[in-house]
Amino acid sequence: MIRVILPSQLEDYTDRLREVELDLPMSDGGEATLADVIAALESRFRGLAFRIIDEQGNIRRHIAIFVGESMVRTLQAPVRENARVQIVGALSGG
């Protein structure tokens, strides 16, 4: 099970949910990838993925994603069973 913490900016897409739990298939080594997490979120909340990942597969500039306490910038980042993934609207603008 992966626990995903969602930012307020995505509330319109998540029916106001700020936290979800996902059951993902894991590799033999007990890993999935961040791309698997995003795909699972998209299947549950249509339209969400394009709000955090652009058309070239990059995490949007003002979105930060943490796996555990490490910020990751690639969808290939490994996500282990029982990991905590937090999506954050980065501090920006005015």
Binding site: Q9, A35, D54, E55, Q56, S92
Partner: protein, 383 residues
């Protein structure tokens, strides 16, 4: 007299301002999409109540929202404008990505489901289903010279390079025009399959002169391009390097009509709007393009300038505006007209003020002064 709605897009959401029959009192409704950047908010002239809005967020990227009930409810486009992924590239590889949808234009009257969108960085997109799904106009976005025309995606103005002023000729649905800041004006006669520049006669002061004395074909910086809604051979455009007019019945070379504006005001600015029936009548809002390019009213004294002879002369129109110490300006989508006998002229400012003139610019009144920075103003005549 018909009633009018003013659709106002701002840096922090959108509002509808509804007028009474004589345009003397106005009711403000909103906000919609509070907190989002609304670059353009446009009504469909082909379908009553149908509206499109460019909604952007610093965090969540670009999108387009659709209303079928005059802004009461909104649904998000299923497939917003997006550049194609580079074939064969790994996810996350470098490639073009839409930062914001800057411009929305309804298609030809004979094609009620067609819309066009211009983006930052510069891209042209088309929807065949009322704005729900968008495809690249490949003849433009993938033209082999496209990067030569406009430079790279990082070569833009401070808030990003933009494709704007998407025009569908009312007399020929295959005839399209676009403006690029920077890049210049381009034209297609085959619905976007092929394109050619339309910049002859336009200054490009920010580039060195060509050694052979010839003109640059492209790379210019048009800020706003308009085609007269009846006389499609009459074009005007406000450029980074002056104010221009083109009468295609007389030739294909732009004439700098801005030389006829007062020298202490200059002919730099962003918006231009035309009279709905008279192709010789236009309004512009010059800004201070000197020195550091403050992009404010020249001298802190706001004024619209009005021509009724195709730009041969201009009249200053400032009755009702502050007389001094007003340092706002008007962006390119923020000057609009209605189609009444005495044409109403409307403008929205970088200071969040919405102004109206009921007498073709002679006198101005503030409708509201407390909106966020205004990014677009469109006027809808109610049936």
């Amino acid at each position: 007299m018909a009633r009018h709605l003013i659709l106002v897009g701002t840096r922090k959401g959108a509002w509808i301002v509804e007028g009474n029959g004589d345009r003397s009192t106005w009711t403000i409704k909103g906000p919609m999409h509070l907190g989002a950047v609304v670059s353009h908010y446009v009504a469909d002239p082909r379908r009553s109540g149908y509206q499109l809005m460019s909604v952007g967020s610093g965090h969540l990227g670009p999108s387009v929202f659709i209303s079928r009930d005059t802004g009461a409810t909104w649904t998000e486009a299923q497939k917003p404008p997006a550049f194609a992924a580079v074939p064969g590239a790994e996810p996350g590889a470098p490639g073009r990505s839409v930062d914001h949808v800057f411009w929305l234009t309804p298609g030809h009257a004979s094609e009620p489901d067609v819309w066009y969108a211009g983006t930052s960085p510069q891209g042209l997109f088309k929807s065949l289903d009322g704005g729900n799904t968008w495809q690249e106009v490949e003849g433009f976005n993938h033209h082999p010279d496209c990067f030569q025309w406009r430079g790279g995606d990082k070569d833009g103005t401070p808030d990003g390079p933009k494709l704007h002023s998407v025009i569908v000729d009312h007399s020929d649905k295959k005839h399209l025009l676009v403006g690029m800041s920077g890049g210049g004006i381009f034209e297609s006669m085959d619905e976007g399959a092929t394109w050619k520049p339309l910049n002859k006669g336009v200054a490009m002061d920010f580039y060195p002169p060509k050694e052979d004395g010839s003109e640059y074909e492209f790379g210019h910086d048009p800020h706003c391009l308009v085609m007269h809604p009846v006389h499609s051979n009459r074009l005007y455009h406000q450029n980074h390097c002056g104010l221009y007019a083109l009468d295609r019945s007389k030739g294909e070379r732009w004439q700098r009509i801005g030389d006829n504006l007062p020298k202490d005001v200059g002919d730099i600015g962003f918006p231009i709007v035309l009279h709905p029936r008279d192709p010789d009548t236009a309004w512009v809002f010059p800004m201070d393009g000197s020195g550091q390019w403050p992009r404010t009213c020249p001298g802190g004294r706001p004024a619209v300038f009005h021509t009724q002879d195709g730009g041969a002369s201009f009249e200053r129109q400032d009755q009702g505006f502050p007389r001094e110490q007003a340092w706002w300006t008007v962006k390119r989508q923020c000057l609009a007209v209605d189609n009444e006998k005495a044409v109403g002229v409307y403008l929205g400012t970088t200071g969040g003020q919405l102004w109206v003139s009921r007498d073709e610019g002679l006198h101005w009144e503030a409708i509201t002064v407390n909106l966020p920075q205004i990014y677009s103003v469109e006027v809808v005549t109610l049936p």
